[in-house]
Symmetry: C2
């Protein structure tokens, strides 16, 4: 927050239409969510951004535990020899690793990667834990930092270090593992919809887009306001790939030794970027009430001599709201004008603003302003708590409805490849097209248009009679969602 | 947990008297709290240990926020050039650093340390945030992993990677910074006492023992059951050392530019080790109810034909307790005998056990057993919730009282250096002695006896008339607490 008293309004941010990418970065920086640091590719998540992450963590952690998982913590460093145990995995991740080569003043015998993801280190440990079918399932989640060396970075979306949760489970049968994979994907979908007001599309990844080392990858794909897709969370059926690489075997009830079946699933601080790009407008952030670090900001319109009385009155209102678990901030700064504060808290995306000036005090009312619509109502002091609670629910619902409408309007079904290219250039968005199931078609489309196969959606992903691949013209096996993506 | 049905009782752990150090490690491993991994010096914190850490985090995070701090997240990696900016700091930490030298397939221009602590990286960022006195104070905390390369490791007490929180604050005046340092030390002391039932002694460190780069270090020192001290938390007055090294300056209200004053303070997963060594007995862990991951375990004593009825009845009891926010675990395994389960949950330190067998069912009663004393009472089903809630409070208080009595019995005042050495060898514990304030005396005692100066306690640390240094015989400036320490 700026404390420069010379400044009449906060620095202007570019509009989304002028430059979506600059709008995104400047909104984050001006809203005090995060910034770049001297460490290449690594960001600092400032308290306002971290507060959002804490609310995301709390909402998701509750769901992860409600589905029977426990949290644990595994080592940050992964010896190179462990990464090498699963061939596709090392091929996918080794180029992105940061390597520790010296410790305690001496060179190390073996170099250690900072975890880019934890399958390798966790599987090396699970191999010691699993002996009998009675040791299964293992249902563990970890909240952690991970590191993937990135050349081109963007705050929250692509940074060398980021924060995430990664679930790692072990099962007796493939069927049970597959149930887990889909259960956690649904947890993500529901969480995104009900907490972040992001209506993501659940579906299955193509072989080309799946996780390095997985049998199948499932995803929830969100559509940003610039028409680009964002992979918001993934859930992997690891099959027995890692179990075989790491020797995770158990004696089953029938007294035969079997390899276990595994899953992993994760979402990251990238969700913060997704929330910003789904809901923000040209004034800045618009945060969904359920996860907003500040749900209500209380601002006095000072008049000489009335400062004390206004602060007291608004302080009591804030207290009453807090007693109902509403997250309130009082902005009683005396070196900024109300208009400056309004603009600043709009930039920071606080869902509800309460204003009180001398006339309001006389009438025992306040003005309540919605961030999402800008609508203002005058409310008697007695009705504030009830009004705010209602508004927080309404705003959350309205934001989801708007995001759903945007997604639906921007999901198109091109009739042929020419239309596909035109729509992609002119409208962007999701393009649902028949696909022949080959990497040949998928790669050609990617190379020619930069659109990638985001997923074969659970809903609408089945090929219909007569469907032919949008690129090759060969018979289609599915309908796939294509888009340019972050 | 063992699921081997051939096993009549869980593996025996050594007694504390036989070998305290082995008792400690074996208790942790058998109780499924943590274990070593293939990564040298790095542990895995298993769900049961991590559950304790989550409760510690929740209790402490609430207190950190209640004192006005917000959480944030700073980069994991610290460029070497930043570490070099504070001379004492780099001297203290560089030898323990793990160094990243390669990233994304290429050697790096500058090597990066995995944070051993975050003063350097955070100060480099704060330097950009602080311009005016209106930007102060900065009151930020971070929950993070850190890495200090250790040759000799011990689960939770000394591992290369550990988890902690680190507060980093910036102030306008030294007085305000000092208030912060002492405020957070008191938060730690109160937290240790009321949540972990550890009666730690607050005090000031000598120059030799203070944090590398601090003006003053304050500490809370706990006494373990083997008579060794454990530094449980520290709070540092950083003076202007880092502000000068990193250029953290502000324009004060009087229009002059000034260097800021800083503090930092932290506690770590080491607190888990302290909890184990304060309260454990020869049967294993005894966890304080307020932080125990499982507060009550419910165990049926099965009789053929009654399994279903017993499970149903105990399931209802568990549900009633959960409705009152009691953390309950049902142990309905059918491949282990009750005696095995009793021993196992005693090893895991669960404060209260509820048993129900066929006769209890007839009488509509249960047996409730306290882990701390072993006392057993027969309680009507209707009175379970009330009894359990009372017991959890009583057990917490009894554990603190016992730990306080132990600490007080084992805090001695040797009359001379000969007695000092005898007491240290025969009784260990805290030794409170007059000290002349010199490193000469402190170092001689350390070299000859391995006892270090733990702190000059706030209570009882003032020199009395006629006090002379226990080693040099010179006039004393304080009374200091010495002990051998972890």
């Amino acid at each position: 927050m700026s404390n420069n008293p010379q400044q009449k309004t906060p620095d202007r941010i570019p509009t989304r239409g002028e430059n979506f990418s600059e709008w995104y970065i400047e909104t984050i920086r001006k809203a005090d969510m995060a910034d770049y640091t001297v460490v290449k590719g690594c960001m600092v998540i400032k308290p306002y951004g971290y507060g959002l992450w804490e609310n995301i963590q709390a909402g998701l952690d509750k769901r992860i535990k409600a589905t029977g998982h426990e949290n644990a913590y595994f080592p940050l460093l992964v010896p190179e020899s462990l990464l090498l145990k699963e061939a596709e995995h090392v091929e996918g991740f080794a180029p992105e690793c940061a390597w520790v080569t010296h410790g305690g003043g001496s060179p190390l015998e073996e170099r250690l990667a900072i975890r880019p993801t934890s399958e390798a280190i966790i599987c090396s440990i699970y191999a010691n834990w699993v002996r009998s079918y009675r040791d299964l399932p293992i249902l563990i989640n970890q909240w952690a930092n991970v590191m993937r060396w990135e050349k081109r970075t963007r705050l929250f979306l692509r940074t060398s270090e980021f924060l995430w949760q990664e679930g790692h489970t072990v099962h007796r049968t493939h069927e049970e593992a597959r149930e887990e994979v889909l259960r956690m994907l649904e947890v993500y979908r529901e969480f995104l919809e009900n907490e972040l007001a992001i209506p993501a599309v659940p579906g299955r990844k193509s072989d080309a887009e799946k996780f390095a080392g997985a049998s199948e990858t499932y995803t929830v794909e969100a559509l940003m306001q610039d028409g680009w897709a964002l992979q918001a969370g993934t859930s992997h059926d690891l099959g027995q790939h890692f179990a075989k690489g790491f020797g995770i075997k158990f004696l089953d009830e029938d007294n035969t030794e079997k390899y276990a079946w595994q899953t992993s699933w994760g979402v990251s601080t990238r969700l913060i970027g997704g929330t910003i790009m789904t809901h923000g407008d040209d004034k800045g952030l618009r945060l969904p009430p359920r996860v907003a670090p500040v749900q209500v900001v209380v601002i006095p319109i000072f008049k000489a001599g009335l400062e004390g009385a206004l602060k007291e009155k608004l302080g009591q209102i804030a207290k009453d709201l807090r007693a109902q678990d509403v997250r309130v901030r009082e902005d009683f700064r005396d070196n900024q004008r109300p208009g400056f504060k309004f603009t600043e808290w709009e930039l920071k995306g606080v869902p509800v603003r309460i204003e009180m000036g001398p006339r309001d005090m006389e009438n025992n009312t306040v003005a309540i302003v919605r961030r999402d619509t800008g609508a203002k109502e005058i409310v008697p002091v007695d009705a504030i708590v009830e009004t705010v609670k209602r508004l927080l629910v309404e705003i959350q619902a309205a934001m989801l409805a708007a995001a759903k409408a945007f997604r639906d309007e921007n999901t198109r079904r091109p009739a042929n490849y020419e239309e596909f290219k035109t729509l992609l250039d002119e409208k962007r968005g999701f393009l649902l097209c028949p696909w022949d199931g080959t990497a040949e078609s998928e790669n050609a489309i990617k190379n020619e248009t930069k659109a990638t196969l985001r997923c074969i959606p659970f809903d609408g992903g089945e090929a219909q009679p007569g469907d032919v691949d949008i690129y090759t013209g060969r018979p289609a096996v599915a309908r796939a969602l294509f888009a340019r993506n972050y």
